[in-house]
Symmetry: C2
Subunit: 471 residues, 2 copies
C-alpha cells in the first residue's frame, strides 16, 4: 500500500508540464485540517487544564502552564513545567491522557493518509492512462485507515496495560483501581511515545524492574515503527507466520526495521559504555541493571522520553550521543518524532553510494527514487536550522550551558520530552519557544514532506547544466 512503484522516464519526462487536478484546488488541504485540528485540541486542552479541579490545591493552573502541558501532551512530547504526578488532580491527569491519545491517533492517521496519497500519486504517475479520479485518497480510504490505526493502537495499549497493571498490583502492592490506572496511563503514554509518567521522578524508581521497563519499551518501539510497518508485520504474522517473505516487504518497512535495530544496538552500547561507572547514573547498578537501564534509555531517547536514570547527571558525551538519537527519531507515520529513520537512512545510503563509487543509490535491491534525495536533504536542513536558531535564542535569554540547551531544543523539536531539568526554570519566552518547537517538530516534517511530495511541479524549459567545485 505504501509501495511506490517504478516511475517511468527520467527528468525530461517529468519536466514537461504536469497538470494537477485543478477542480480540487478550492478544497481544504489535509495538512491545513490537521494543523487546525491540533491547534484546536491544544486550546481545548489548555482550557480544561486551567479549570480549578484540574489542579491540586486552591486556584487553577496558569495559562502558560496549561498551554505548555496541553501542547506537550497533544504533540506527545512529555516535557513538563510542573510535576505531572502531584500538580494535577486525577481529572487533570485524565485530560492529559486523552490529549495524548488524540494526538497519537491524529498524527498516525494523518501521516498514514499522506503516505497513501503519495504512494497513489506515484503509482498513478507510472500508469499514464489511469483515470484521474483514482488519484485522490477518498473518504472511504481515510475511514479505513483511521479505523485501522485505532484498532491496532487500542489492541497494543490494552495488552501492555494489563501487564503493567498486574506488575503494579503484584509487585508493588498497589490497590486494584490504582494499579489499573497506572497501567492504562503508562501504556497509552508509551505506545504514543508521550513519555508522561505519574511519578515525580518519572520511571527512575523502576530502573531495574524488567517487568515495568520491558513492556513499556515494547509499546514504545511498536508505536515508533509507524502504522505502515505494524500493518505489514501484522499481515505477515497473520498470513504466513512461519515463512517470512522479507523480500516482498516495502522499502519503508525494511529501512525502518533495520534502522530501529541498528539505533537500538548502537544507542544501548554507547550509553551503557559511557555511563558504566558514572556514580550518579549506571555506576551503582550491577551489570544486568546497567544493561537494562542503558537499553531502556536508548529506547526512550527515540522518541518516548521516559527516563529511568537522572538525565541531568549524564556525561555530556552521553547527551551529545542522545542528541543524535533524538534527532533521528523513529519510523514515519507513527507516534515517534524527529526527522525519521527513513530520512536519515536516505542520507546514509547516499553517503554509502558515494563512498563506494556507485551510480545509483540502491537500498535492499531497489533503486532509491531521486526525488527522495532532495526531500530528505530539505527536511534535515530545515530541522537543523530550526534547532540551531532556537538554541541560539535560548542562549541569548539564559546563562544555561550549551549542552543542556541543545538537548532541550532537540528534545522538544523531536517530541522526545527528555530534559536535563531546565524546562521549568526557563523564562516564559523560552517556554514559548519550546511550545513552538513541539508544535513545529510534531507537524512540520510530515506536512512539509507531504507538501513537497504531493505538489504538482511545473517547468517550461531546462537551463544548461553546470557545477561548482565541491569540497
Amino acid at each position: 500500500m505504501w509501495h511506490a512503484r517504478r516511475r517511468v522516464g527520467c527528468v525530461h519526462s517529468r519536466a514537461v508540464r504536469e497538470r494537477g487536478n485543478t477542480t480540487k484546488r478550492h478544497r481544504l488541504h489535509p495538512a491545513q485540517v490537521v494543523v487546525s485540528g491540533f491547534a484546536l485540541t491544544i486550546l481545548g486542552g489548555t482550557a480544561l487544564l486551567m479549570l480549578p479541579n484540574a489542579k491540586v490545591g486552591p486556584g487553577g493552573a496558569s495559562f502558560l502552564e496549561a498551554l505548555f502541558t496541553a501542547t506537550s501532551a497533544v504533540c506527545v512530547t512529555g516535557l513538563t513545567v510542573v510535576d505531572t504526578a502531584v500538580y494535577w488532580t486525577p481529572f487533570g491527569q485524565i485530560v492529559i491522557l486523552l490529549l495524548i491519545q488524540i494526538g497519537g491517533f491524529g498524527i498516525m492517521s494523518f501521516a498514514s493518509v499522506v503516505g497513501l496519497a503519495i504512494a497513489r500519486k506515484l503509482s498513478l504517475r507510472s500508469r499514464i492512462t489511469a483515470a484521474a479520479e483514482t488519484k485522490s485518497v477518498g473518504l472511504e480510504d481515510v475511514k479505513g485507515l483511521v479505523f485501522g490505526v485505532v484498532r491496532i493502537s487500542l489492541a497494543i495499549e490494552l495488552t501492555v496495560a494489563v501487564v503493567l497493571a498486574l506488575r503494579f498490583m503484584l509487585g508493588y502492592d498497589e490497590p486494584v483501581g490504582r494499579a489499573i490506572w497506572l497501567g492504562v496511563f503508562h501504556s497509552v503514554s508509551s505506545f504514543n511515545n508521550a513519555g508522561f509518567a505519574l511519578f515525580s521522578d518519572n520511571l527512575m524508581g523502576y530502573a531495574t524492574d524488567a517487568w515495568i521497563c520491558l513492556p513499556i519499551c515494547a509499546a514504545v518501539i511498536l508505536g515508533g515503527l509507524g502504522f505502515p510497518v505494524i500493518v505489514q508485520l501484522t499481515r505477515q504474522l497473520r498470513t504466513r507466520p512461519f515463512s517470512w517473505s522479507i523480500r516482498t516487504w516495502t522499502m519503508n518497512t525494511r529501512i525502518v526495521l533495520a534502522g530501529t535495530i541498528a539505533l537500538l544496538v548502537l544507542g544501548t552500547v554507547y550509553i551503557t559504555a559511557v555511563e558504566w561507572s558514572n556514580p550518579n547514573t549506571l555506576g551503582p547498578l550491577d551489570w544486568s541493571g546497567k544493561l537494562l537501564a542503558g537499553f531502556f534509555q536508548a529506547v526512550q531517547t527515540r522518541t518516548a522520553g521516559f527516563n529511568s536514570v537522572d538525565i541531568g547527571q549524564l556525561d555530556s558525551a552521553s547527551l551529545l550521543g542522545m542528541d543524535i538519537l533524538m534527532l533521528v527519531g523513529g519510523g514515519p507515520a507513527g507516534t515517534a518524532g524527529g526527522i525519521k529513520i527513513t530520512t536519515f537512512a536516505v542520507l546514509f545510503f547516499i553517503l554509502w553510494t558515494e563512498v563506494r563509487g556507485q551510480v545509483a543509490v540502491n537500498v535492499f535491491g531497489k533503486r532509491l527514487s531521486r526525488a527522495v534525495h532532495r526531500e530528505a536533504i530539505t527536511i534535515v536542513l530545515l530541522a537543523v536550522g530550526v534547532i540551531i536558531a532556537a538554541t541560539a535564542a535560548l542562549m541569548l535569554m539564559t546563562d544555561i550551558s550549551m549542552d543542556a540547551l541543545l538537548f532541550e531544543t532537540i528534545s522538544a523539536f523531536a517530541t522526545v520530552g527528555l530534559s536535563t531539568g531546565i524546562t521549568a526554570g526557563l523564562p516564559w519566552e523560552g517556554q514559548i519557544i519550546l511550545i513552538l518547537l513541539m508544535f513545529i517538530g510534531r507537524l512540520g516534517p510530515i506536512t512539509f514532506a507531504s507538501a513537497i511530495a504531493l505538489r504538482e511541479r511545473r517547468s517550461t524549459y531546462e537551463y544548461p547544466k553546470e557545477r561548482p567545485i565541491i569540497g
Copy 2:
C-alpha cells in the same frame, strides 16, 4: 577553465559502462602525492621546530609542541599550544612562516589541478568523440597552474605587506626591520588564512585600527575566494575593467562571490548585534569600533582565525553562530577551509528548490548538475560526523564545556584556528585529536570530493525504483 559544460543524456546514458583511462592506473594518484607531501612537510617542520635555536631559552620544544605547531602551520590553521610571539625565536618564526607558505601554495595548487581535472573530465564527457589523451591534466597544465598560484599569491602578499609595514612603522614607531618583518609575517599569514600572529594577544591590540585590520581582511578574503575566482576576477579587470560581464562568469565564481558577501554581511550583523553591549568584547568600543571589530571577526571566522576580541569572552550564542561560519568556510581551491561555500550553497539551493516546488535545481540561470547534490551531501555528512565524533571524544577526556569543545573541533577541522583558550590545556590525547582534525579537515574534503568526482563509475544494470516515507 573550471566551467563544466552541459553533460549529454540522463542517468540511463551514465549508467552504461564508462571506461577509465586504464593505462594510467599504476601511476600515483595526485591525492596520494599531496597527502604524502603535506605529511612530509609537517614532519620536516616538526624536526626544525625541535632544534634548540627555534625555541627561546634553554632546550628545544617537545615533539608534541613542535608537531602541533608544524601541523597547524602547514594546514594553515593557527591553533597553538605555545605563544608564537614569545616561545619561538625569529628562526622558529621563519620556519612557521615558510610552513604556512608551503601549505598555502600546496593546497591552492592541488585544489586547482583537481578542479581543472574535473572540468576536463566533464567537458570531455559531453564531447563523446574527443580523443582520450586530452582528458588528463598534463605536467604543463600543472606547471602553469602552480606558476599562476605563486605569482598571484606573492603579488597580493607583497601589496598587503607593504601597507602593514608602513602602518607598523608610521603608526607604532616600529624600527624599519621589525616593521617589515611584522608586515611580511602577517600578510603571508593573512592571505594563506593561517591566523598565526606575532603578538601574544593575536590582534586584540589593533581592534580599532582600520589600517591594520582592513588590509588583513582584504588578504584573508582574497585568499578565501580561491584561485579560480581570483583568476576570473583578474582576467575581467584586465580585459574589460569597465564592462563587467557577470553572466559569463562560471557558476563557481558567482556562488563564491555571492556566498562570501552574504556570509560577511550576516556574520557581521550577527556578531556585532550579539556582542554589542558585552563588557568583555565590543561593549567598551564606540559604534565605529564595534562595527570594525564585528566585521573583522566575521571575516576571520571564515577561515583565517585572527582575533581582535577575546574569543573566550564571547557569548555562547556568538560561538554557535561562529561555529556555522567556520564550518561553511570559504571558496574552493583557495586557502580557506571548511566544507566550502559552494558545498553549502548546493544544499541551500536544493532546499530552495524544494520550498518553491520546482523541478530542477537552478542556480543563476544554470541547472545544477545532479551528481553534485550527492557529492555535497556526502562531504557535509562526513564533516559533521568527524566533528561530532571528535567532540564526543574530547568530552570524555575533559570536563570542558560543550560550547568550547565544539568550537575547538570545528575550528581545527575547518582550519580556522580560533579558540576559547583551551588548546594548550588539553591532555596530549586531545591535542593529537586536534592534529588529526587539522590534517583531515585540510586535505579530507578536497581529496574526497575529487575522488568522487573523478572516479569512473560502473553499473551493469538498474534496480526497480522505490521510495520510503520521508518526514
